[in-house]
């Protein structure tokens, strides 16, 4: 087990390095940090102030490797950035000057408050609906459900958000159309609408997927054995099918767990939830290289964490699999 973990971690190092290099090339080599400087300093900035800005942030260093004679090779942008990130010194945002540690720390909670309930509710609802569909096994209902699911999948997320916010908050006046309060009992009333929208927008795909998973399990031999034993259909579903389906579900679901922290771009923007959802996007558009590099670094760690988590959960849920 430990050996397995260590082996995996070694495998992760080149991936993280590759990711950082790729981001650097994609983002830094092809567009100069001057763009950031101009964005930050505004339309009226003079080249002198741009130059001063770049110098203060070390952006006037050589890009990948310092080949200037007399200077150490590692005194380059990429190496220093990487060095800082590896020690988890995230630095400060190029645009706002806020420490990134603070940005991520403050944004994580609201993002999680939005995504974790949405994740759990949508998982519960879609698993329940999928089981329900498998349970009743009615041709007409199946057809309608498939159609509805595909229909739900085919609507762009934006349309959900726009309509949802407009109709539910404007016509019905039940919940605030906007805003966020992480503390106290008012949090649910702010979160209800975005969470519901997030659940609905993901429902179609999930129900379809889980239904297919469960149906596949239903066709297995051991289900026949269970039914031949006299186990009732509901129990077959809830115990035999569910547990086996769960193993497949894990591979699909667990990998996305670490990304819950990244929040949801659209919902956060529309509902004024100060999460991490649009941190990366605004950073890309700004462009705010410090934020991009740090979030990609953390993002790739999370991705790899997700992979590892999937393996571990798999091993935990499926007795046939042993890590080693």
């Amino acid at each position: 087990m430990l050996a397995y973990l260590i082996r995996r971690l070694f495998f992760f190092v080149p991936i993280v390095f590759g990711v950082m290099l790729l981001t650097f090339v994609l983002f830094f080599v092809v567009q100069s940090p001057e763009a950031t400087a101009r964005r930050v300093l505004g339309q009226k900035a003079t080249p002198k102030s741009v130059e001063n800005w770049l110098h203060n942030r070390g952006y006037d260093k050589p890009l990948l490797i310092n080949t200037t004679p007399g200077q150490p090779w590692h005194d380059s942008l990429f190496v220093t950035q990487l060095g800082r990130l590896v020690t988890f010194d995230l630095g400060t945002s190029d645009v706002s000057g806020r420490p990134l540690r603070e940005i991520f720390a403050q944004g994580a909670l609201p993002s999680l408050l939005l995504t974790v309930p949405a994740f759990l509710v949508s998982l519960a609802v879609s698993v329940a609906l999928a089981l329900y569909l498998v349970f009743i096994r009615n041709a007409a209902v199946d057809f309608m459900a498939t159609f509805l699911c595909v229909a739900l999948m085919s609507v762009p997320v934006m349309v959900y958000v726009i309509f949802g916010q407009f109709v539910v908050a404007q016509v019905l006046n039940y919940f605030p159309a906007f805003g966020f309060e992480a503390s106290g009992w008012s949090a649910p009333k702010f979160l209800l609408l975005p969470v519901a929208l997030m659940v609905v927008s993901g429902l179609g795909a999930d129900v379809r997927l889980f239904r297919a998973l469960f149906l596949e399990e239903m066709g297995q031999d051991y289900i026949r054995t269970a039914r031949a034993k006299g186990v009732s259909k509901a129990r077959v579903l809830l115990s035999h099918v569910f547990k086996n389906g769960l193993i497949n579900l894990i591979t699909l679901v667990v990998a996305s767990l670490p990304f819950l922290i990244m929040g949801s771009l659209l919902l956060e923007n529309f509902f004024g939830i100060p999460g991490l959802g649009n941190v990366l996007v605004t950073a890309i558009q700004a462009p705010d290289f410090a934020v991009v590099q740090a979030s990609v670094f953390l993002g790739s760690l999370m991705y790899l964490g997700g992979l590892l988590l999937t393996d571990l959960c798999y091993a935990w849920a499926d007795p046939r699999i042993r890590l080693g």
Partner: protein, 336 residues
């Protein structure tokens, strides 16, 4: 890229695309597996209806893709066909006779079934014209990610060892970079355009395909027929193209159809992020994006959002349903 603007080049590209598609279908239908699938599919009413809807979209998209010479450079066939519909000054409601204005309702030049947009263009025509963007994005992206994904997936599954390691390393790395960053960064480098969008989506999209094909290849390689082929001394290339490829091709087809709908939706999101279709190219994503502020207008301007979302919805729905039908047709046991 100047030569790309030539009228005949564009039309030729279109023709080549259709030729390729036809060739692939003919090639596929030669295999027994595809023939049985086609037999199943013919009995699947829903599948056939969706196929017809897709065909309809293809026709509209093609009409907009055929470029004709005109006085001011070039126009598309669809533009030529709808040239009779006048352009208004600004918004007007569906079938309205006057412009959308409370205080000063000026008479319109003509009737518009779905109203007009902010620049007074007919919404129906714009919606139809946008089909082209969706099809091009879906088509071009598939042309990039399918060969890339299939080739790498096959090689990884067949050769294993270091080839597998290398392919796995590359796709893990690509997958670990947040997708949105890849897309936006690539689009910023290449500039806006349908082509760049297809490239960006292709670069991020091949990972899933490669994974799928690699998995299936690993399974196929265990089968005796591969061992037999090897025993006969056939070359690796021949085994890859003649034996393995046909056996994973149905997966590619299904993934292509289902992935197509994903690509059409991705265009909408990219437009929200401001890296969507370029100016002058109608697309549903930009129409939806533009309608964000229209929804809060008084009186409400709803027809642009409705028209574009419905068109998008119908296409994605048809693709998804057809994809399902394909899946059932190829694997009747699973899709029950």
């Amino acid at each position: 890229m100047k030569w790309l603007d030539q009228i005949w080049v564009q039309n030729l590209c279109l023709l080549a695309g259709y030729g390729l598609l036809a060739r692939l279908v003919v090639w596929g239908l030669r295999s027994e597996r595809w023939q049985t699938a086609w037999k199943h599919l013919r009995r699947d009413k829903l599948g056939l209806v969706s196929l017809c809807v897709i065909g309809l979209y293809l026709v509209v998209g093609t009409l907009e893709s055929i470029v004709l010479p005109s006085a001011s450079g070039s126009v598309t066939l669809l533009q030529r066909l709808t040239a009779g519909i006048p352009q208004e000054k600004s918004y007007s409601a569906p079938l309205a006779t006057t412009a959308l204005s409370v205080a000063d309702p000026k008479p319109l030049l003509g009737r518009h079934v779905l109203g007009t947009d902010a620049l007074g263009r007919d919404t129906l025509v714009q919606t139809l014209r946008a089909t082209r963007s969706a099809l091009w994005i879906g088509g071009l992206t598939s042309l990039i990610y399918i060969p890339l994904g299939v080739l790498l997936g096959l090689m990884a599954g067949y050769y294993r060892r270091w080839v597998d390691d290398a392919v796995q390393y590359v796709y893990s790395t690509v997958a670990a970079v947040p997708e949105i960053l890849m897309l936006v960064a690539i689009l910023m480098v290449l500039g806006k355009g349908l082509g760049s969008m297809a490239i960006a989506l292709g670069i991020t999209g091949w990972v899933g395909m490669a994974r799928l094909i690699r998995g299936e290849t690993l399974r196929q390689v265990e089968r005796p027929y591969i061992a037999a082929a090897k025993a006969l001394g056939q070359s690796d290339w021949r085994i890859l193209t003649r034996h393995l490829l046909p056996n994973v091709m149905h997966l590619v087809l299904i993934k292509f159809v289902l992935g197509f709908s994903g690509l059409v939706l991705a265009e909408a999101v990219l437009s929200y992020l401001g890296v969507g279709a370029p100016v002058g190219t109608a697309s549903w994503g930009t129409m939806i994006d533009a309608s964000r502020s229209e929804l809060s207008r008084e009186p409400l301007v709803w027809w642009n959002l409705t028209a574009s979302s419905c068109a998008l919805f119908l296409m994605v729905l048809a693709l998804n349903l057809f994809g399902d039908s394909l899946q059932r047709a190829f694997d009747p046991k699973r899709g029950a």
